[in-house]
Symmetry: C2
Subunit: 353 residues, 2 copies
Amino acid sequence: MNARSHPAGGCITDVAGVRVGHAQRVGRGWCTGTTAVLLPANTTVAVDVRGGGPGTRETDLLGPLATIQHADAICLTGGSAYGLAAADGVMHYLEARGVGFPVGTRPEEVVPLVPAAVIFDLGRGGSFTNRPDASFGLRAARAARPTPCATGAVGAGTGARSKGLQGGIGTASRRLADGTVVAALAVVNSAGAVIDADQGLPWQPGSLHLRRPNAAEREALAAHYDTVTPALNTTIGVIATDAALTRGECGRLAAVAHDGMARAIRPVHSLLDGDVVFAAATGARSHPAAPSPRDDARAALRWRNELLAAAADAFAAACTDAVVLADARPGAIAFRDLCPSAFSRYAASVPKG
Amino acid sequence: MNARSHPAGGCITDVAGVRVGHAQRVGRGWCTGTTAVLLPANTTVAVDVRGGGPGTRETDLLGPLATIQHADAICLTGGSAYGLAAADGVMHYLEARGVGFPVGTRPEEVVPLVPAAVIFDLGRGGSFTNRPDASFGLRAARAARPTPCATGAVGAGTGARSKGLQGGIGTASRRLADGTVVAALAVVNSAGAVIDADQGLPWQPGSLHLRRPNAAEREALAAHYDTVTPALNTTIGVIATDAALTRGECGRLAAVAHDGMARAIRPVHSLLDGDVVFAAATGARSHPAAPSPRDDARAALRWRNELLAAAADAFAAACTDAVVLADARPGAIAFRDLCPSAFSRYAASVPKG
């Protein structure tokens, strides 16, 4: 199997009400997929687009001057710009359930707000013309569950690569002292490396305590990196929290998630990357009130900075796990294949896929 | 017929290489459509989103920090956010012809860059679920011609309304003294009025020299306006020129097109409008060189300001013509139906549709 469930570092579904579903197709010329992140009602959403070559949909809805502050779901998908069609399927799923912005007199007359971003994986299954369409978005939304989601080469990460290694989906969550949860889901498809060739280890910690691979493995990794020709890439994801944030604060959350991306993937944010992070605040809980107004303002500032720092950490960990936990799809090679000794302490508990 | 060809005020196809095609479906619960604006190779494109409730696709590609400066086509469509699916069809048309950003080793491995924006027209044909899909975009792109396009209630303007009157598509072009062409195509679907109720005439001149309607007609217009309940709206369009502009300069062009919109439609840019203008500069001609560097800088500034002023005028005229020239689709009432005497001097040459 290519998916692992419930990584030790937590999951974006640790944010109450967030549901994640994957759909993918592999074989017979296919190697791509779509991930739907369904959000609870009235979730505030923002976006931060950092790559020079983004492929997006409905991001103007999330701009600082836009009227509606929320979105109903986020669609992450393979297929480059062609894959934006997958968002139609997520919209259809939500419309059928009456979820969306009401625009008519009847409850079913809604327009679901589904921002989307894509990664470049065209041709990785063998055929350039096999890409996600609306049916992928529909299947991903139908598969969405509030329980920890599969990671690795699944959903939007199915055809992902990270400097020539199998890329994929990673997720991680952090809990602040007051119980606020902030959690990330990343689809890593990067020109830059998540695994440092010198050490044979990730730049940033993920959910596993890896051992340094042996010299032969490290050489194999470096040799593999040398064979990689630059291609089109993109890392996309979602940072979510149960805190109550304004759109502006969500924008800051997305910004620091990009910091996490920058720590975990080197280099990143290049000219043709379409690196995009969506931030979602469900508002299920707000930070606790402090005794005096002055203390309150101070405490609120401290709390917000803690939230931002945890968001960057969670996003970095999600990027790391996306590559560390991925098993290879046909035609790809996984980090764990090149450097199995890194995983030696997990040999019993984390079986090879 | 609902379409009129070659309005006296020119057409966006006066910009060499720009092709426009419409597709629409009317009757049996349908009243919506899509317009494809195909651009010549290496056309620089920018966007200015002013409404509080936009529905867009691939606009991050057009951001000031994006790497690629051009787009291959622009898709304008009905169907609210559901209609974004129409852009898939425009992409497929271009892909089949090898038009797009090259991403592989073979010429057919391209990703067409097709930004899109939508208007809200859901349910205007009778069924809420009848909206443009990829087939509309494909048909519109196939229908695209470099000759003057149909206007009125066609393409993306089929289901449009303008303060309860039939809205639609208008187009206009202006030529600077040096021969530079700047031209607009607008899809007017506005809560605000293009026709002033007091005078019974447009706020801004279009291509026709209208007469003031008689008192009974003006009263009928005012009475009709009074029956209009606020709905979701949006005016979208393209301002194009054969000048060679940077993306930043294109952004200015889109900004002044919004000025034209503001003159022609009152009020506009409201909280739930998705008002969006794309600007496209084909670069087929640049402004003529002046004799000395100092004169050159002055002349270039003057020329740019003339271009911007002409762009605002053209966009305002396009917005006006969109409503003035529209014949009503079933269920709508057109300005010419309410105020026929305004057109009396054209009775012979502009037959009622």
